[in-house]
């Protein structure tokens, strides 16, 4: 079975700092990759996704992620965070043909104004 590891469980940054959240997965076949975000008091929602093509994908609110197949990684980045980025971030992996994603344990990001 596949697994997803998020290396940073808690991250605290000041506004304008750069962000990179690590995500590694274990699965040898074709995968779909996702980052979800949960703002305080809100639903989990999709931030960005990778299915195929350009391994650098851009999502909402200035976030991007890079798929590095050789490293089984899908790290999330943002060059300059804002206070409103304070949220919980989840990496998810779904094998091609499967309906069900496997989630990482999440990273809590706090951005100080």
């Amino acid at each position: 079975a596949q697994s997803v590891s998020q290396h940073n469980h808690h991250v605290i940054l000041s506004e304008a700092a750069s962000l990179e959240l690590g995500c590694n997965y274990s699965y040898g076949g074709t995968v779909n990759l996702f980052w979800y975000v949960q703002y305080p008091g809100q639903h989990l929602q999709l931030l960005l996704k990778y299915f195929s093509g350009d391994p650098l994908v851009k999502g909402i609110k200035g976030f991007e992620a890079e798929f590095i197949k050789s490293k089984f990684s899908f790290n999330l980045r943002k060059p300059s965070v804002q206070w409103s980025d304070t949220a919980e971030y989840f990496c998810a992996v779904k094998p091609g043909g499967s309906y069900i994603p496997t989630f990482g344990r999440g990273t809590s990001l706090i951005v100080h104004p």
């Binding site: 996702f34 639903h43 989990l44 999709l46 989840f90 309906y99």
Partner: protein, 112 residues
């Protein structure tokens, strides 16, 4: 996209009692999923609910503890039975559409 309404949003329950969580989707979907999110841990799939058939449970979850109903293509319930403090968690309903997962706002359950 799909909009999912889940209720209750939170509850505090006595041990030994049961709580039923409702999930309503604004469109017809074949599969609905129930997850548990324990503090500091990832979302763990409890079961997959298809309309007209019994739910399929993941390892570590059983029907007696987490009975699920799926009476139609837009609605499902999850019951947490005979609760203990270890059941304190956030329970999430989810559906998929176009390979993307959509979630309800979750039910935060505290068992005392």
């Amino acid at each position: 996209s799909a909009v999912i309404s889940q209720k209750p949003s939170r509850d505090i329950c006595q041990r030994g009692t049961s709580l039923t969580i409702q999930c309503q989707v604004d469109s017809q979907v074949t599969m609905m999923f129930w997850y548990r999110q324990q503090p500091g841990q990832s979302l763990t799939l409890i079961a997959t609910a298809n309309q007209g058939s019994e739910a399929t449970y993941e390892s570590g979850f059983v029907i007696d503890k987490f009975p699920i109903s799926r009476p139609n293509l837009t609605f499902s319930t999850l019951t947490v039975s005979n609760m203990s403090p270890e059941d304190s968690s956030i329970y999430l309903c989810s559906v998929t559409g176009g390979s993307e997962a959509f979630f309800g706002q979750g039910t935060r359950l505290t068992v005392v």
